[in-house]
């Protein structure tokens, strides 16, 4: 022992380079200099510039808190007039709900299906080439630049009134978000496992299904259910294809100032969104391999259904397996192992799988799709397409439109910066690995889904009556609404980071906040950047809420042009939005690459 104990110094001191003593001067002198790449500096400066621009817009919008407080009485008056919440007839309600959910789900799944190849092309680490990547990203931006309302207006001219044009409108527009989120998730994977499959001689497709898909699936499930939530709330567009769904009923109620009924329907939609949030949470928990916390909502649900695995007596199993080992030959043991045991996980997966399958089949059935339209719609295509070309400014002129675009960007920037600040707090606390307790997480998730559940028109009215019409109300409305989106995206992304480094910091005695700043945030940085730019993108396209509050902007013109069937003007505005959003997307890609 003494000998070995003496050895250390010799070894330790002969450490790598110029073995000298560890005094401060030489240590510092020997340490390499930190160098920042020029690209990183440029990207950093761009970010700073964007933040400054956002703050400037925010200041110029001149949000006056005292005035809002002064006018708060108006909001109270409004709520007093709302009265007691009421609901449609139960029979009607059930049918409306089933129909709406069915249609919307079909649309979302349609989008999810087509988003996979687009995401594959658009993700930097799976794309076959730069050209494909640009094309994939372009497709995503294009589909989300055309509002679903406009798509519905157009499709109804080519298809019969009914579910099909609605599903297509929802579906095609949703590809824009889903394909982007899918692609971003692919870019965030751990490359190792995929490399292993490449090393085994797997094809690109096999790399994808075996190495990438299992890693992105939790995120994809979250995205699809989140999009379904958005589409459900936006189901008013089904009105344009002659389908009366929940969204349209709600819209009628609000139009006739029947707030009590409108809020009743909003409550139903909210409940549906809560259900989807729970499903999302449960499925992700299982897929991400989180140890189930007894208090989580999903877990309680599972236990109610009796699907939590039975506690196995250790003595029992070890004896059993020993007996098994003794009795069986190797070959038999292997054959026996071909049968996957029905453990808790497998039972759970099977039940969820069947449930999902049934819901999907039910959705297709209730949608009552007129498949024949796929044959006939081609005839309408040239005529409809001709309406969009050549683009024109209608009765407006270019400067008006460009000014509107500028106004849109300013509002979007201002709203985004507010949203980011709030979402980082709420979204982080809604992540299982950041929240101090499951209760806080559930609470924050509820806050997020509730924010999403506030009908736009109610949010708009409350803001109008306290701030007046215009950009002030528009910015605040966007900022509040955005928290529901960004907060959720952020929470989900944070839950997907690798738990190991967090655990290492915990083991070093770091506080919760320190673990967050030291391990969770650096791993989630890429996602935060991506999602924040997506938020900006969404705000630039946000037309409805700005339209409601008289906030102006180019999106309002777009909706009006669609409403007035001025498709040549629609083309012009879509192109303007497209170009802007493409710039945002390009910036996002750059940032994500630099700050990976």
């Amino acid at each position: 022992m003494t000998l070995t104990a003496a050895r250390p110094r010799a070894a330790a001191r002969s450490g790598r380079p110029s073995g000298g003593a560890g005094d401060r001067g030489t240590l510092e002198a020997r340490a390499p200099r930190r160098r920042l790449s020029p690209e990183k500096i440029a990207a950093g400066l761009t970010l700073v510039a964007l933040v400054v621009a956002s703050v400037v817009s925010l200041v110029s919008i001149d949000i006056s808190i005292p005035q809002m407080i002064e006018s708060w009485g108006n909001a109270q008056n409004f709520f007093e007039r709302v009265g007691v919440i009421s609901f449609p007839e139960p029979g009607d309600l059930l049918y409306l709900t089933a129909l709406t959910v069915g249609l919307v789900l079909c649309g979302t799944l349609f989008a999810a299906f087509f988003s996979v190849p687009i995401a594959f092309l658009a993700a930097a680490n799976t794309t076959p080439g730069r050209g494909w990547m640009v094309a994939g990203r372009f497709a995503g931006v294009f589909f989300r630049a055309v509002p679903d309302v406009v798509l519905a207006m157009v499709f109804v001219l080519m298809f019969s009134l009914g579910s099909l044009p609605g599903i297509l409108a929802i579906g095609i527009h949703s590809i824009g978000m889903i394909s982007k989120m899918f692609a971003d998730a692919i870019e965030q994977i751990d490359e190792g496992p995929r490399l292993a499959i490449r090393a085994a001689g797997g094809t690109t497709l096999q790399e994808f299904t075996s190495g990438i898909l299992p890693q992105v699936l939790p995120s994809w499930v979250a995205t699809v259910l989140h999009r379904n939530d958005i589409n459900l709330r936006g189901s008013v567009i089904l009105g344009y294809v002659g389908v009366v769904g929940l969204g349209l009923e709600m819209s009628y109620a609000f139009k006739s100032l029947d707030y009590s009924l409108g809020l009743g329907i909003a409550l139903i939609i909210f409940a549906l969104c809560v259900v989807m949030e729970i499903v999302s949470s449960v499925v992700r928990t299982a897929m991400l391999g989180f140890a189930p916390t007894r208090r989580s909502l999903g877990d309680r649900l599972l236990r109610r259904l009796g699907m939590r695995g039975r506690r196995v007596d250790p003595a029992d199993t070890s004896a059993a397996s020993a007996a098994l080992a003794r009795k069986m030959s190797r070959a038999d043991a292997r054959t026996a192992a071909l049968r996957r045991p029905w453990d808790a996980a497998r039972r759970r997966n099977t039940v969820w799988g069947w449930a999902a399958g049934l819901v999907i089949i039910g959705s297709v059935l209730i949608s009552d799709i007129q498949w024949g339209d796929f044959v006939t719609f081609w005839g309408y295509l040239p005529e409809t397409a001709a309406k969009f070309w050549p683009p024109s400014f209608g009765s407006y002129d270019a400067p008006t439109m460009i000014a509107a675009m500028g106004e849109t960007i300013a509002i979007a920037l201002a709203a985004t910066i507010l949203t980011i600040i709030a979402s980082i707090v709420i979204g982080s606390l809604a992540a299982r690995n950041v929240a101090p307790s499951p209760r806080v997480r559930s609470g924050m998730r509820l806050v997020l889904v509730s924010i999403r559940g506030i009908p736009e028109i109610i949010l708009a009215i409350v803001l109008i009556v306290v701030t007046g019409l215009g950009t002030q109300a528009g910015t605040i409305a966007l900022a509040i609404g955005g928290i529901g989106l960004l907060g959720k995206l952020l929470a989900d992304s944070l839950e997907e980071v690798k738990p190991g480094p967090e655990q290492a910091l915990t083991a070093a005695g770091a506080s919760r906040l320190q673990v967050y700043a030291g391990a969770t945030a650096p791993q989630g940085m890429k996602a935060l950047i991506g999602h924040s730019f997506y938020m900006l993108d969404t705000n630039i396209r946000a037309a409805t809420i700005l339209g409601l509050v008289g906030g102006g902007g180019v999106g309002y013109f777009l909706l009006n042009a669609g409403q007035g069937s001025r498709y040549d003007l629609v083309t012009t505005i879509v192109v303007m939005i497209l170009v802007t959003v493409l710039v945002v997307e390009a910036l996002a890609m750059w940032m994500r690459r630099v700050f990976r």
Binding site: T4, P8, V312, P314, M328, D332, D343, P501, A510
Partner: protein, 292 residues
């Protein structure tokens, strides 16, 4: 530590013992990872855990830092009941206990230096972002630790671009950065060449001697275990099957921990034939059934 001696009065010198594991059992689903394991470690001791892959070494170490909760049994570290501790007190305890992870668990997108600096988090208050969140003294100390493990030149490299052994050494530097009283090391030299292994073990030994650091370390290299450890603890199926001073222990004696006495080829063949014939007779029915 006073509490400890009254609570868990084991055969060893309790007054000086800084780690007390009593009858800890832990199962994951159907897997029994620890099965009534007990262990007592005195201050300044270097205890080496040996055992087959999957025998529960990592699980035991994780219990010592409160990273797992035992199904039953108690874990007491530095006088604190780890398994029931929470919040500030648990953090404070963890700050005094360094942990070197088998899979390194570095933050991949941070630089090596930043990773090492996170080891100092228990000593600073509030969250730290980036390198400049830490003061100069801490940065220098971190560079010192990096130098000690031979990675000064890599200080500003991203952690995920390091070689396996380099990553492992960053993990070691991070744990040392804590200035721990107890070091829990889960196969700290598995990815290191013999030279670097020796250096690291020597470094750990040196700190143990100088500062009374207590070390519990799982190792796969019996030679290293015998030359650097004060005590060898053998685990098998989550049970402690050996607990003896390292001095004078022979390698052959240690190898018995691994359960399978080296079998000859002839013996192996015999077993194979026996199994083959067993399969051919009574078991076929059973298998066919279970395969259905």
């Amino acid at each position: 530590m006073r509490e400890l001696s009254s609570e868990t009065n084991t055969a060893t010198d309790a007054a000086a013992s800084v780690i007390e594991v009593a009858n800890v059992t832990k199962t994951f689903g159907d897997t029994v990872a620890l099965n009534g394991a007990s262990l007592s470690v005195r201050r300044g001791e270097i205890v080496v855990l040996l055992g087959l892959s999957g025998s529960g070494k990592s699980t035991l170490l994780r219990h010592l830092d409160g990273l797992e909760e035992p199904d039953s049994g108690t874990v007491t570290v530095l006088g604190e009941p780890v398994s029931t501790l929470a919040g500030k007190r648990l953090r404070a305890l963890r700050g005094r206990v360094g942990f070197i992870f088998q899979q390194f668990e570095l933050v991949p997108s941070l630089t090596v230096l930043e990773n090492v600096l996170t080891g100092a988090l228990a000593r600073v208050s509030g969250p730290r972002l980036g390198l400049w969140g830490y003061n100069r003294a801490l940065r220098l100390a971190a560079l010192g630790h990096l130098d000690r493990v031979g990675l000064l030149a890599q200080a500003y490299q991203r952690a995920d671009t390091l070689s396996g052994g380099q990553q492992q050494r960053v993990g070691i530097a991070r744990a040392l950065m804590q200035n721990p009283e107890i070091l829990l090391a889960d196969e700290p030299v598995a990815s290191l060449d013999p030279e670097s292994s020796d250096q690291v073990m020597a470094l750990i030994r040196e700190i143990a001697m100088d500062q009374g650091l207590t070390v519990v370390c799982s190792l796969h290299q019996v030679d290293l275990a015998l030359s650097w450890g004060d005590r060898i603890v053998g685990l098998r199926h989550g049970e402690v099957v050996l607990d003896t001073p390292a001095a004078g222990l022979s390698k052959a004696a240690v190898m018995e921990i691994y359960g399978r006495v080296a079998t000859t080829t002839a013996e192996l063949d015999a077993i194979a034939t026996e199994l083959e014939s067993a399969r051919a007779t009574d078991l076929i029915g059973a298998t066919a059934e279970s395969a259905r």
